[in-house]
Assembly symmetry: C2
Homo-oligomer: 219 residues x 2
Amino acid sequence: MRPDTADTPQFSPRQNEVLEQALRLLVEGGDKALTTSGLARAASCSKESLYKWFGDRDGVLAAMIAYQASKVRTADRSGEKLTEQLLKQHLEQFGRDLLEVLGGDVSLALNRLAIGQTSRDGSKLGKLLVEHGRRQIDRRAMALMDAGKRAGLLRFENADAAYHTFYGLIVSDLHVRMLLGEPGLKDNSRQAERAVEAFLALHGVEQKTADALRVSAGR
Amino acid sequence: MRPDTADTPQFSPRQNEVLEQALRLLVEGGDKALTTSGLARAASCSKESLYKWFGDRDGVLAAMIAYQASKVRTADRSGEKLTEQLLKQHLEQFGRDLLEVLGGDVSLALNRLAIGQTSRDGSKLGKLLVEHGRRQIDRRAMALMDAGKRAGLLRFENADAAYHTFYGLIVSDLHVRMLLGEPGLKDNSRQAERAVEAFLALHGVEQKTADALRVSAGR
DNA sequence: CCTCTCAGGTACCGTACGGTACGGTTCTGG
DNA sequence: CCAGAACCGTACCGTACGGTACCTGAGAGG
């Protein structure tokens, strides 16, 4: 991983405006609705400008991903002294945020777009999406893992593996199901709580007998 | 859930042949490569026949899903008397099979197709895919859960929730990443073993201190 | 031998998209 | 005031797709 300096090319305000419209079109009508003509009309710009700014249609798609990622800034409030309660709260907050992000209109639309194009573009968009979209959230999670371990509240050999375990407990197959059109959960908080409970039973330092979580079942 | 009687409309041998070619085209070139003309050429049939058999292009896609699902038959060898070792083996086998299925060419291609179309068809294909594709595997998993509980080897309140926990431990975000073009794991077995270990720590009856699994980390 | 049905091959049509070219308009800098 | 750039709107082009129509050949049944 490179030290990632300011790697956001950033676009002009006018271009951001256009990309915003592009996202709207994508969310509303999916891949097919995002035509160059349609975008030009919706954004009140000329097709020529689109091609000048973004090169071609794929360039627009890539720019949309970069733009959307640039909007997400996770405020990590590290530096606090972690207590068990605090760690639990942060983990639950992370779970709620993750579920909310993954279930968001724009995220789903962009993921659908990238997945739909994976077969024919050598997963260029997919790579972009994973890198740009995931980096923030991954960083936050890893910071939490490390902080928990340093505070003696979490135990694991491999922070990455622990994080993926946590991720699986939170999301399970929900992401794919939402991508396939199913509605999200009614209660993200509940799901986050259960995931944290299980995660702490696996990697927490306090020996919960893992019985507590068995009574909290119900999907 | 309805008792699902023989609900496979089933197609003629000739039609299966055509659907096989359709799957091949889809796997090789994705959505865009699966044109009616291309399929007719590849399968040596006329477009008119395609439209007579499947109605329209969407009909072909739906038929492909039904056809692919009809090929998968999981042999559930229930009836054995479960021991702890046997349960563990079955769980691990399930995990391996699940990872293999999800990472398979055809599965990925069909999921990409359905996800790509979700925005513009009201998730008709997505529903089809979840129902047809998932039913077998879900049934097998739930049978395992129930058997484990009846044998006194597993503890949970809600079998469905326990299954989803297990699923999340096995798959995590791997499915979505593969859909986005990342290569699969090098070692599915290892992943399955770790998932089972964690699952048993959460829902197994024997009180593992949950320390054992911490040494098995490494992704 | 005749006929009817089914399916393959081909040509065709309308449409809609990606991409380009051009004329007109506004903004900027000197 | 003027020159140049940037940009909008529109018209245009080639292409490729979904879907339809027509013709041909091969069997099936009488």
